[in-house]
């Protein structure tokens, strides 16, 4: 009877030994290579710190002007530009300016990394079916595996701080841009590709003159999702020592500071809305030609 109610499992001791061996060897490995890996990420660290310092040191009126022009250039909407500036002023007024700058620098760097890594991978996937079938399950894994599970090895390797936080954010935010780059390129009209071939395009010419421009709206939807997912990771990233708006939220949860949590949470939401609207409007403008509108 015991046999049926108790699932046959490895003995407790065997299990403990197994875990010990794996933990031990990973620890060993991270001890040997940890420094090298950390050194590899050093440039990233310096860039991140530099950007954060720059944003914090910059006079706030300049930042506001930048925000307004970024929002306007992206969306061509005065309302959105004005709304962004007001949100920033409110966030600053309630004492969250520095944290906001730290978060923005993290998001920007994470997004840049995701674009730099994700678009080439997406291009490769669209070109070779084999690469696509190899990478798709990895992307599925990245999106379904509980965040804490991969947070752990990252922390063991790199310790606590900005860089491991950044890596965690990137792992989480990378899949959409890869997927949508791949999808966007694959969705390009066959007859147009045929035309490109018929006029003697090389692969490169086809990629840059036809596939990427026509996939751009999709790629941009990927960038938009990547930004949103990076923002969603801000609180979790703060658990491994990333400064910014996430940190106070974490404190608030631990100490039941309702107002602190709400204020910082709302600030994150405000940033998310601004980034989302501006990048979506920009994405829409990218495909204006499809509907026969005048280009601006």
């Amino acid at each position: 009877m015991d046999f049926l109610t108790e699932f046959p499992s490895l003995g407790k001791r065997d299990l403990r030994d197994l875990k010990k061996t794996i933990d031990g060897s990973f620890r060993e490995w991270s001890r040997t290579y940890g420094d090298a890996i950390e050194a590899f990420f050093d440039p990233l660290y310096f860039f991140l710190v530099w950007l954060e310092k720059l944003l914090i040191a910059a006079p706030w009126p300049i930042i506001l002007i930048l925000v307004a022009s970024f929002a306007y250039l992206g969306s061509r909407s005065w309302k959105l530009a004005l709304g962004s500036v007001i949100s920033f002023m409110l966030i600053g007024y309630f004492g969250m300016w520095k944290d906001m700058m730290a978060t923005i620098s993290l998001i920007s760097v994470a997004t840049l990394i995701c674009i730099a890594v994700g678009i080439p991978i997406g291009i490769l996937m669209s070109r070779y079916d084999r690469v696509q079938s190899a990478i798709t399950p990895i992307l599925d894994l990245m999106q379904t595996i509980p965040i804490f599970v991969y947070l752990l090895p990252v922390v063991m390797l790199l310790g606590i701080g900005r860089v491991p936080g950044l890596i965690a954010v990137c792992v989480y935010a990378l899949p959409p841009i890869i997927r949508l780059t791949n999808l966007g390129i694959r969705l390009v009209d066959k007859e147009i590709l045929e035309a490109a071939d018929a006029f003697g395009s090389s692969y490169r010419q086809k990629l840059f003159e036809v596939q990427l421009p026509l996939a751009l709206p999709n790629i941009f939807a990927g960038v938009n999702q990547t930004i949103m997912m990076a923002l969603a990771m801000v609180v979790i990233a703060s658990m491994i020592g990333v400064k910014g708006l996430g940190m106070p939220v974490l404190q608030a949860v631990q100490n039941q500071y309702l107002t602190l949590g709400l204020m910082n949470g709302l600030a994150i939401v405000a940033l998310a809305i601004i980034f989302d609207r501006v990048s979506q409007r920009y994405g829409q403008r990218l495909q204006a030609h499809r509907f026969g509108k005048e280009h601006e």
Binding site: D189, E191, I192, E194, A195, A196, D197, A198, F199, G200, S201, S202, Q205, E209, V210, P213, L214, H289, R290, F291, G292, H295
Partner: protein
């Protein structure tokens, strides 16, 4: 020695076609090659599909396309027209066969040679236009040139005249989506002409257009061809269009050429029921030229040009006392005569089943 070479050159110019397709087979499916011999022995398209799951695209095509003429390829949907035209610039790889352009085997070209060939020798116009939606009219027309690495300024300069010649002046900065279908295809045509390639491939280029606009486009093409003398492969499923445009016609069915040659000959002597069926609705009095019913000898009466249509000839013929006229060529030289009886007979052909019985 020198003289011999010249002679060979002459002979070649006279007898060799610009474009030669030899024993071309295309069987879609990953084991296409292994079915060629069965197809050669007569396995039908349907049988190949039912028994082996392979699609017979082209079945032993042999076609010589003359320089500076318009070769029309006609057939119902699914007969293999698009497949055939895409073999000429190797957008589709054949299962077996040979394709020569200016006596160079297209199928032997390396990837880079093929690119060069596509840039310089051929250009293509597509059924659904296939314009680049993110580029302006001017940029689209200059596309082939930019692919060749021509500088932006020069490409603009050179494409300008083609934009003019298809009647799109003033629309240079528009985007394709802002244009009507007819205008989009003008862009497609200008884009193809801008590279100065001697061979123009047109896959149902006008089929997506309204009848009136289609006629417009045909006129533009014929007008341009008078000056440009390109070698044009023009695909259509529309017989009126084929007769209007084609110097030569090849008719495809299930991937096989079932009749080819002078359009007049196809109308007067359709090779089988399929083709009789194809031509049964045409307006014979407008389409048939008197050269098709010309007889030996001369007569006293007036003269008609050999390319004169029956419709135009009937009145003159009827007004002659002996109901006969001379036929003269372009230079005005008498080359034969034509009688009213023959003209009326040619008109009636479609109603009788004579021609059908003859070829059954």
């Amino acid at each position: 020695m020198d003289r011999d070479f010249k002679l060979i050159g002459l002979v070649r110019n006279m007898s060799e076609a610009k474009l030669k397709i030899k024993n071309l087979f295309k069987i879609f499916g990953n084991k296409g090659r292994s079915f060629i011999s069965s197809v050669e022995k007569g396995m039908s398209k349907q049988e190949l599909l039912d028994k082996h799951g392979h699609v017979l695209g082209l079945n032993n095509i042999n076609l010589d396309i003359s320089e500076q003429r318009i070769q029309v390829i006609m057939g119902l949907s699914g007969s293999g027209k698009s497949t055939l035209i895409r073999h000429i610039n190797r957008l589709i790889e054949p299962t077996s066969g040979e394709i020569y352009v200016d006596n160079e085997n297209v199928l032997k070209m390396s990837q880079s040679e093929l690119r060069e060939f596509r840039r310089k020798k051929t250009s293509m116009v597509f059924q659904k236009f296939a314009l680049l939606p993110h580029k302006t009219v001017a940029q689209n027309v200059a596309y082939g040139l930019t692919i060749q690495g021509v500088s932006e300024g020069e490409a603009k300069e050179r494409s300008h005249k083609w934009i003019d010649s298809v009647g799109l002046a003033g629309f240079e900065e528009r985007f394709p989506a802002q244009l009507s279908g007819g205008m989009q295809q003008r862009v497609g045509l200008a884009r193809a002409l801008a590279t100065d390639a001697p061979i123009l491939l047109m896959d149902e280029a006008f089929s997506a257009l309204d009848p009136l606009i289609r006629t417009d486009m045909q006129n533009i093409l014929l007008e341009l061809q008078k000056e440009l003398h390109k070698t044009i492969v023009f695909i259509t499923h529309d017989l009126d269009e084929a007769l209007r445009i084609g110097d030569n016609i090849a008719i495809l069915r299930d991937g096989k050429v079932i009749q080819k040659g002078d359009p007049q000959n196809i109308i007067m002597n359709p090779a089988d029921d399929y083709i009789s069926d194809f031509i049964k609705d045409i307006n014979r009095s407008k389409v048939i030229e008197i050269r098709s019913i010309m007889q030996k000898g001369t007569t006293k009466g007036s003269s008609l040009k050999s390319s004169c249509s029956l419709e135009d000839a009937l009145k003159t013929l009827n007004s002659e006392k002996d109901k006969q006229c001379n036929v003269v060529n372009e230079e005005g030289k008498k080359i034969g005569k034509v009688t009213l009886d023959a003209a009326i007979n040619a008109l009636l052909r479609d109603k009788s089943t004579k021609s059908l019985e003859k070829y059954k």
